[in-house]
């Protein structure tokens, strides 16, 4: 044998074993080469494989392993040294790569494992979410059911429909086997089965007492509570055969009544009445009451309560409305009838008024004419009787018409300023003749603080006083009549006998109280209320012959009420005389009106004094010509004139003799107002002070106000004419005189 560098294999070439090794190596190499190819293929396919570098390493490792095995194929036979070299290099490389790969894998495998764990976790989570989604959907559906149910319940105001609908909808939503409503009976001691879902025949009269423990338990809580299926309220369906009854839930339904709704406090829970709603799940099902279903039941119960109360309220209001309509119709009819009656009466009165007065006038006029002619004494007597009777009749007609107008409310007082004292004097004058014939003594007492002037209806006031005094005279046969008049103070007002008379004194008004006491026949206290009624007549002996219509006092009462007052009569009994009192409200006239100085007293005659002879007048004017003009004017009127030209001279010259002081207030440099104030101070007593009159050229309000402020009695505007001076002086003097008489009284 030649010596070659070939390497001798370790073992001799055994044919069969060699063959098998040869094949295995071949296939290994094949596999080793195809694995990376597959890997590359699949990695290329997937986008998400994060460990490409590892793959490359792995691929390299496998390829080299394959290469090694492949080269191994040549080492079975004698092979050259090159092959051995190649083999060695391949093996070395393989070793390197495999070690690196092994090292890399240590890092990578935990990561890969954790990926797997996370995947598992996410899957669990997904499953959980799915489950929850399912739950929410169920709840939402339930909510929709509730809304629908509520809508159904609220869409009607009929109680039965509400309840029936509730049961039906609940049954449908919750899939109930049975649903029942127990209402409290009228007595409140029992619950009666009123409505059921499935059973068509309502078992009327099926009641349970209300004070069962289970019912109390349910009523005392506002939640839906599970109750035993064996409790009396739940045993509605006849138990047939053996089966497990479904769970039962009961809830209270508050029945709200109108009377429960107080404004100030909410209805007490203890006084509420409740109905009971019982719900049964289908038997033999594994269903349980879920929390959301219980909530649904509670909500529905509340809604039902509200709907029922609405229905109740509506019923109530419908009933009230019907009642009101009926009443309205009746009232309308009554009103129309009354109006017709009033119209008829007014027409009658209007006609009768005219018809009655015309002949009356004729009679009165002609009789008075007749009286003027020559008559025999008998004839004269007859004519006088005719006159008296016709006058009486005329008065009667007027009274009746007055009264009807008063009742109508169409009567209005004529309010004006008048002399109160004069009214009393007039009455006295009118009644004196009659009284003296009967030998009755009349005394009049006017209180010192009674104002001279008042604002009111003079004519009607006089009528009232005259009537009262006239009655006093009429019903007295002897003795005397005393009339007292004074201003009623608060205490007096309160002691007026009627509680509904609440006088309110104020600044511009005062209450006049007049009392007429007579010593005549008196009145039975029982008859007193009748006195003021129309046409009621006191039929005692003494009065039968006195005539009169019986209307007088009734009219007086009306007038007095119109004057915001009150009139009443007291008497101790028959034969003991009687006292008539009335209070009326009169206004206080203003001392000064803005339109014209001075106050115009209309009670007394308004004639203008033509001659002021001897009237001492003091004139102040710093203008000589003006002085002369005014002096001439006053001289023409007959006054006794003194002139001064300044305020000081005026103050020196003025004396009690001067009745009037005329001051020209346009003079600059002299404060005429100050002079006026001085004069007021000098003469503190009202009635001795001369009357102050200002002569001014200005027309503005300020001057007038200033004059009023310092207490001037009058203002004259320039140019002064004779007539103007005459008018002002005469008014001043009339008023002035009466002002002084006021002080005296």
């Amino acid at each position: 044998m030649e010596s070659c560098n070939c390497v001798e294999p370790q073992w001799p070439a055994d044919e069969l074993l060699m063959k098998y090794q040869y094949l295995s190596d071949f296939f290994i190499a094949l596999a080793y080469f195809s694995i990376p190819l597959e890997l590359i293929y699949f990695v290329k396919k997937s986008a998400v494989f994060p460990y490409r570098w590892v793959l490359v390493q792995f691929g390299a490792f496998i390829v080299l392993c394959g290469a090694t095995h492949l080269i191994n194929l040549w080492t079975f036979a004698i092979h050259s040294r090159t092959v051995a070299y190649v083999m060695t290099i391949a093996k070395v490389l393989t070793a390197a790569v495999s070690c690196i790969t092994a090292l890399m894998l240590v890092h990578i495998i935990p990561d890969l494992l954790s990926v797997k764990t996370r995947e598992l976790f996410l899957k669990n989570k997904a499953a959980e979410l799915d489950r929850e989604m399912g739950l929410i959907r169920t709840q939402e559906e339930t909510g929709r059911h509730v809304r629908m149910l509520t809508h159904e319940i609220r869409s009607t105001l009929d109680r039965h429909t509400i309840l029936k609908t509730t049961l039906i909808e609940l049954g449908r939503t919750l899939g109930l086997e049975e649903c029942a409503l127990w209402m409290p009976t009228r007595s409140g001691l029992e619950l009666q089965l009123s409505y059921t879902l499935r059973q068509q025949q309502n078992p009327v009269g099926y009641t349970v007492p209300i004070h069962l423990p289970v019912i109390n338990r349910v009523f005392s809580s506002n939640r839906a509570l599970k109750i035993s299926p064996n409790s009396p309220v739940a045993r509605i369906r006849p138990l047939a055969g053996k089966y497990i009854p479904g769970e039962v839930v009961a809830v209270r339904v508050p029945l709200l009544h109108l009377s429960n709704f107080q404004i100030n406090d909410w209805p007490e829970l203890s006084t509420k009445r409740y109905a009971l709603m019982v719900l049964m799940l289908p038997s033999d099902s594994a269903r349980q009451w879920h929390v959301h279903e219980l909530e649904l039941v509670e909500v529905v119960a509340d809604q039902v309560a509200v709907a029922l109360s609405h229905a109740a309220i509506l019923e109530e209001s419908m009933r009230a409305r019907d009642l009101l309509m009926e009443q309205n119709v009746a009232l309308d009819l009554a009103r129309r009838e009354a109006e017709t009656a009033i119209r008829a009466r007014n027409d009658f009165l209007a006609v009768m008024n005219h018809e009655m007065r015309t002949p009356m006038h004729a009679i009165i006029a002609l009789s008075s004419l007749l009286q003027e002619t020559e008559l025999t004494p008998e004839q004269r007597l007859m004519v006088e009787t005719i006159m008296k009777s016709s006058n009486l009749l005329a008065t009667l007609i007027n009274d009746v018409l007055d009264l009807s107008r008063l009742e109508d409310g169409s009567f209005q007082l004529n309010i004006a300023t008048f002399n109160l004292h004069a009214v009393f004097r007039e009455v006295l004058n009118l009644i004196k003749p009659v009284a003296s014939v009967k030998k009755l003594l009349i005394t009049l007492n006017l209180a010192p603080d009674l104002p001279e002037y008042a604002v009111g209806d003079e004519k009607r006031l006089m009528q009232v006083i005259l009537n009262v005094v006239g009655n006093a005279v009429k019903f007295s046969k002897e003795g005397g009549i005393s009339i007292t008049a004074f201003v009623a103070k608060a205490e007096y007002l309160r002691e007026a006998r009627t509680p509904e008379f609440l006088p309110l004194p104020s600044d511009n008004h005062f209450y006049l109280r007049v009392q007429v006491r007579d010593s005549g026949s008196g009145i039975n206290p029982q008859d007193i209320p009748k006195l003021f009624t129309k046409f009621a007549h006191n039929q005692s002996l003494a009065t039968r012959n006195s005539g009169g219509s019986g209307l007088g006092l009734a009219i007086c009462k009306r007038f007095v009420s119109l004057m915001d007052g009150h009139i009443w009569i007291e008497s101790e009994g028959i034969g003991k005389g009687c006292t008539a009192t009335f209070i009326v409200r009169l206004g206080i006239p203003e001392k000064l009106n803005e339109s014209k100085f001075p106050v115009l007293p209309r009670g007394s005659s308004n004639h203008v004094l033509a001659n002021f002879s001897g009237l001492k007048v003091l004139v102040m004017d710093d203008n000589g010509v003006g002085r002369a003009a005014t002096k001439g004017l006053l001289l023409h009127l007959g006054c006794d004139v003194t002139t001064v030209s300044s305020g000081d001279e005026l103050l020196h010259a003025v004396s009690q003799e001067h009745k009037v002081v005329l001051m020209d207030i346009c003079t600059p440099g002299i404060d005429s107002y100050e002079v006026a104030v001085q004069i007021h101070r000098l003469y503190s007593q009202h009635h001795e002070r001369p009357l102050l009159v200002a002569i001014t050229g200005s027309t503005d309000k300020v001057t007038k106000e200033n004059c009023m402020r310092v207490g001037m009695d009058g203002v004259i505007q320039k140019p002064v004419s004779l007539d103007k001076m005459r008018n002002v002086l005469s008014e001043l003097l009339e008023c002035g005189h009466q002002m002084s008489s006021l002080a005296r009284v």
Binding site: N623, G624, A628, L635, H636, C666, P719
Partner: protein, 149 residues
């Protein structure tokens, strides 16, 4: 000339005075005040007016002649004049006085001086006319007629 003619002349003259605005109804009032107790009332009052006005006009001239015019004093005088003229019904004089017062309040020297001239003018006119009137009346009285107006 007989009384009737004189009377007619007087009447026409008086009417003219009223018409031209020299006098107004205040004068008529004064005439009404004249009666047998007071026969010369109008003449007396008018004479008073003349004297008073003369005095006032002199005062005014003096006051407005000053270097520093005291408008208050001027106003006071004019006020007096106005008062007197209105008392007897001297309408035109009164009107000028009103204008005069306004100038005084505005302290307008020019205006015041102008008004003073006007017042003087009006015054002398009025004086002449009234004197003529009174002469006529005297003539009527002398001729034996009754007191006019």
């Amino acid at each position: 000339m007989d009384v009737a003619q004189l009377k007619r002349q007087l009447f026409e003259y008086t009417t003219l005075l009223f018409h031209e605005g020299f006098l107004d109804e205040q004068f008529t009032q004064l005439q009404q005040l004249q009666d047998e107790n007071n026969p010369d009332f109008v003449v007396e009052v008018v004479s008073l007016f003349f004297d008073d006005s003369q005095r006032l006009l002199n005062e005014l001239a003096k006051a407005l002649d000053q270097q520093n015019i005291d408008f208050k004093k001027v106003d006071a005088h004019v006020h007096q004049l106005k008062g007197s003229s209105s008392s007897i019904g001297a309408q035109r004089v009164q009107r000028v006085c009103i204008a005069f017062r306004n100038y005084c309040q505005d302290k307008n020297v020019e205006g015041c001086l102008k008004c003073l001239q006007q017042v003087k003018q009006e015054y002398s006119l009025l004086k002449n006319k009234l004197e003529t009137l009174f002469n006529l009346e005297k003539q009527i009285l002398a001729a034996g007629g009754s007191a006019p107006m």
